[in-house]
Amino acid sequence: MKVFINDKEHSFDVNELEVSALLKELGIKPDGLVIELDNNVLTFNDFNTNLVKDGSRLELIRIFGGG
């Protein structure tokens, strides 16, 4: 499947993937992370129960320094 993460295309060999598994694949720690999956805001608790499919758009957002 092809998914868009922060507007960049990524390919995976499966048809669907749990969000938590996707993060593991990419080596991204879930702490303080918020994800918008196809315009739905997911919090940490939702990562196991939501599936990423072909064509899904994800925004991975984290807390960084700012004024």
Binding site: L42, I61, R62
Partner: protein
């Protein structure tokens, strides 16, 4: 009676708030927070760079000691700001939000109309809203009416370090406001921060001047001390400035020499 600052339901002993951007390292940020004993820090939300796997700065912050104030930097209108605020809340940042809507990238000045609109929306959604604004006294009252928990007028453009250029307008805001006034942006030296406190501001937010100092940790302490000094001066009753001399030694009994 302790001179604490109350914003919404939280009490602050330290009237310096710290922005966390542009620090040279996570360690310098952590040490700056520790040494200055700030109790409120702002943070931003950014896209994770999938390749870099950057963990962000959350580990530098102790949520038991510092209130997290995520900002909506990057938003160019109310809609984007509201979206960012909700993302921040979803990221576990709590429901405090610094509303920052800056459509123009050169001076990063805040859009007053979008800011007012976003404030109304976010207050209705249960956020504690601290809007960043230009030092416009009428806008400050409108934001207060809209339910803002405090107002944050700028001293000079973000990152410019030009000091309290808006001092006259900020004085009016302080006089007219029923909610705390936090001077934010452009304070370039501890003396700027002290001045803001001397004229009656409730708190100041400083980022660039500390983060890009040669020794951010030292600078953080300097700002914290300056804020304390300025506040103490304000509540102790600063004398007025005078053109003439006003002798501090008694006028009578001058010896004839």
């Amino acid at each position: 009676m302790k001179d604490n600052l109350k914003i919404a339901d939280k009490i602050f002993n330290n009237r310096l708030f710290l922005g966390t951007g542009k620090f040279p390292s996570l360690k310098s940020l952590k040490d700056s927070i520790e040494v200055s004993e700030v109790e409120m820090v702002t943070v931003a939300l950014r896209r994770v760079d999938v390749e870099k796997q950057d963990e962000g700065i959350i580990s530098a912050i102790d949520r038991t000691k510092q209130v997290l104030l995520p900002n909506t930097s990057g938003a160019r209108n109310a809609q984007e700001a509201v979206r960012l605020a909700k993302l921040a809340r979803a990221a576990g940042c709590g429901n405090w939000i610094k509303l920052e809507i800056t459509p123009e990238p050169r001076f990063l000045l805040p859009d007053p109309i979008q800011t007012l609109e976003a404030t109304k929306i976010l207050v209705a959604e249960g956020f504690i809203v601290l809007p960043y604004m230009n030092a416009d006294p009428v806008l400050a009252k409108l934001l207060e009416e809209a339910g803002a928990a405090a107002v944050m007028p700028l001293g000079s453009p973000i990152g410019s370090n030009r000091g309290l250029k808006t001092i006259d307008s900020v004085k009016i805001i302080i006089e007219q406001s029923n909610i705390p006034v936090v001077v934010d942006a452009g304070l370039g030296a501890p003396s700027d921060a002290s001045l803001a406190m001397e004229i009656g501001a409730d708190a100041v937010l400083v980022n660039t001047a500390i983060a890009i100092a040669r020794d951010p940790v030292g600078m953080a302490k300097a700002f914290s001390d300056a804020v304390r000094a300025g506040r103490l001066a304000y509540i102790s009753g600063l004398p007025l400035k005078s053109i003439q001399a006003n002798a501090s030694s008694p006028k009578e009994g001058v010896p004839v020499v």
